[in-house]
């Protein structure tokens, strides 16, 4: 997961810091609707539960969860929109 930073270039960034369930997922879903297929959304948040939420969301909706990077108290998630 550590090389995600170098390999993934986000096309858009969404800030959901401080937000708890279900907001990170709902906001990310809306943001994904605004980007084109194949583009990557970066979601910056603080909710530890988002990791498995995004994975499950991606599996259900056919999008791709590329993973996350972690800094103290901060997560950066990467979602690639399906083509």
């Amino acid at each position: 997961m550590s090389n995600l930073k170098e390999t993934v270039k986000p096309d858009q960034t969404l800030d959901v810091r401080g937000m708890g369930c279900p907001m990170p997922l709902l906001k990310a879903k809306k943001a994904v609707e605004t980007i084109s297929g194949g583009q990557v959304l970066e979601v910056v948040g603080t909710d530890p539960g988002s990791k498995s939420d995004f994975a499950s969301w991606a599996e259900k909706t056919g999008n791709e969860y590329l993973g996350y990077t972690e800094e103290p108290g901060l997560f950066k998630h990467y979602l690639r929109k399906k083509k």
Binding site: G18, G20, C21, P22, L25, L26, W57, K60
Partner: protein, 188 residues
């Protein structure tokens, strides 16, 4: 109707059975869809969050979702009632303030319901969880069907115009027809 050649009939039956099996269906059982059907039967603040959070998230996950609000659950979609939902301070042995469990008997003192409600609103605001009316709006935006139990409305004297816009007033049959094809059903 002319008789069908038994060998043709046997061939057709066999192919139908194969197709049913390949589709993962059980004969006679309706297909399960990517669908969630929730019954929301409680009118306290803590019980309002669950159906709305699950419903809006289901919508975001491309599921078809319907929430059937019945009895006290109708307060959650009541235009004015849903801004005044409260947390009951009695009958809840899990209620704590800090590390201290609130003794059950304290819950019956005047003002305790208001205190419990304030406490929960405080937690929710800290986590930036939206209010009940805001969550409802998100559900509707995500395409969640809002069903109101007509019978509960009748016995409780609630009219359609007392409820938020976009509500379908239906009976148990409508909900069950919807739920029969759901892969997830919840009673809250």
């Amino acid at each position: 109707m002319a008789d069908i050649d038994p060998s043709i009939k046997q061939y057709v039956d066999q192919r139908v059975q194969e197709a049913i099996k390949a589709a993962g269906l059980v004969p006679g059982v309706p297909p399960r869809r990517n669908r969630m059907a929730i019954v929301s039967s409680k009118g306290s603040l803590d019980m309002a969050y669950m159906p709305l959070i699950l419903g809006s998230t289901g919508g975001a996950m491309d599921m078809e979702v319907a929430i059937f609000f019945t009895f006290y659950g109708l307060q959650i979609i009541h235009k004015t009632g849903n801004k005044k939902l409260q947390v009951p301070s009695i009958g809840n042995p899990a209620m704590k303030r800090g590390a201290m469990v609130v003794p059950s008997i304290v819950g019956m003192l005047p003002g305790m319901t208001a205190m419990a409600t304030m406490m929960m609103k405080g937690w929710m605001a800290k986590e930036k969880v939206p209010s009940v009316p805001d969550l409802l709006e998100m559900c509707q935006e995500a395409g969640v069907k809002i069903m109101a139990c007509q019978m509960s409305m009748d016995v409780m004297g609630i009219k359609k115009e007392d409820l938020i816009d976009g509500v379908e007033c239906v009976g148990a049959g409508t909900y069950l027809g919807y739920a029969a094809e759901a892969s997830i059903t919840l009673f809250i």
